[in-house]
Assembly symmetry: C2
Homo-oligomer: 289 residues x 2
């Protein structure tokens, strides 16, 4: 077995078709020390069982994916979303406590897009800020950090109205850093002319809740959600961003989260192996100060 | 015939399969007063003939599309690109002189993407700045404004390493505003949390060379280049951006440039009619101060 970076975490989405037991097993068997989980496969076995399975795996838990989707105006749908976000916060706390030492209680938040028929981008962004304000006390009480994830601007209308790291930091600024931070994901922000100053700012403000890496390559998949690639397979230069993250003092695990039909169709053991190899060559060289 | 906005210009790409004669005819017959041309159909008939045809049409000429594509390192390919950009500058000057009074000599520049195998986004951006520096004297002598067009970040790797209006303005800042300006295209920048301050800055600095409108809708076309829609058919709120452009003092024509296979497959007369109708309902209301 090739050397696996001691800070690599497999985000479960990378092996989407593996159930929780399989995901934990192939990750641990590959020598990867950490995992980020998704809500659906956790809920499929039940939270208490999932927590026990995680403990038994010996893996660190890095993030819980994902909650958010609270751009709708006041009403039943918004209340249901906020209630579900509180459940997700509680899940993240339980899983973090069940993971190996070094686990982190982080809930990744994707803001959501415009409601059907709406063109009110500015209003949707205000509602994101309001929602986080409502959730912050619950997150604080649970000891969970909400990690606002800016998504690539190509998802701004239908998935996430938070499009840049700077914008995520502006939202987070109203809250304590241990309660609201940001997700720094190379795929979403690599194009940003301000990406390095924004990472420096995120570090200075203590907001980097999680660092995630995967690669960008064109042509994009027909479903642009599924265009993420193994580190090193695309055009992202992981050096400057990783160096900036390291320089900020971020010393925790780094997730690889890939949505890609072709990768999902492979044996999850192969996907984990390819992930570890890509990470080792494209990212690890920049992790040593 | 419904009323056509007196500031509407049809960008020839909207009726891509029409040759120059057809494009000029259907635009004029629809009562649209202005047109933006593309190099290929102009060159297909020859510049002098194209200029005469433009004069005969009675239309104003708004922009020449497009040049740029100069992210390559020093060498023959870069020299060839810069030479071709100089030809494009000269074409723009001739066409602007041939158009009806109120025509403008504007050359739209798309920077180009990463070279094959390159991950040097920062270097590519520096080479864009250098290229514009080389072209500026020629543009000044020809009386042509180079209009740097930031393209949506989903094109950053393969088409245009200039991704935000702010970044375009930072490049333009080295030059006189009548020589280097920016293209403000709603499709490319609508998602930007800083779009309104950036438009205000562009106006304050005298850099808005051309304002272009079309709409954004998901799911994106399988070829994401072809995802542009008639104004009003998507999710862009044209009010705030158009109001900001008007407030900046911009009082010239406004182009609609659409890349869309379905629209290209329609009769160009229908496409022009639909464009005029979409513009009248989605954009015109914001043009009266």
């Amino acid at each position: 077995m090739d050397a696996v970076d001691p800070r690599l975490s497999i985000n479960q989405a990378t092996i989407k078709h593996a159930d929780l037991a399989t995901a934990l097993r192939v990750t641990a068997e590959a020598g990867v020390p950490a995992i980020g989980l998704w809500r659906e496969p956790v809920q499929a076995v039940g939270l208490a069982t999932a927590a026990q399975m995680l403990t038994d795996s010996g893996l660190r838990f890095t993030t819980h994916c994902r909650a958010g989707f609270f751009t709708m105006p006041e009403g039943a749908a918004r209340r249901a979303s906020l209630d579900d976000n509180r459940v997700a916060i509680d899940e993240a706390a339980v899983l973090a406590a069940a993971g190996a030492p070094g686990s982190t209680a982080i809930l990744v938040l994707v803001a959501g897009g415009l409601m059907d028929g709406s063109r009110d981008l500015i209003g949707a962004r205000e509602r994101v800020r309001d929602a986080i304000g409502e959730l912050a006390p619950h997150a604080r009480a649970a000891g969970v950090t909400l990690a606002i994830e800016p998504l690539h601007p190509m998802y701004a209308s239908d998935r996430c109205v938070v499009s840049t790291l700077g914008q995520a930091l502006d939202i987070a600024a109203d809250f304590a850093p241990e309660v609201v931070g940001v997700t720094v994901d190379t795929f979403h922000i690599w194009w940003d002319p301000d990406v390095l100053p924004a990472i420096e700012r995120a570090g200075r403000e203590g907001r980097i809740a999680t660092y995630q890496v995967c690669d960008w390559k064109t042509p994009l998949a027909a479903d642009v959600l599924l265009s993420r690639h193994y580190p090193g397979d695309g055009v992202i230069d992981f050096g400057p961003m990783t160096t900036a993250v390291v320089a900020s003092g971020y010393d925790r695990d780094i997730e690889v989260e890939i949505f890609n039909e072709e990768i999902w169709a492979t044996d999850p053991r192969d996907a984990v192996r390819r992930t570890a190899a890509g990470f080792a060559s494209a990212v690890s060289p920049y992790l040593t100060p």
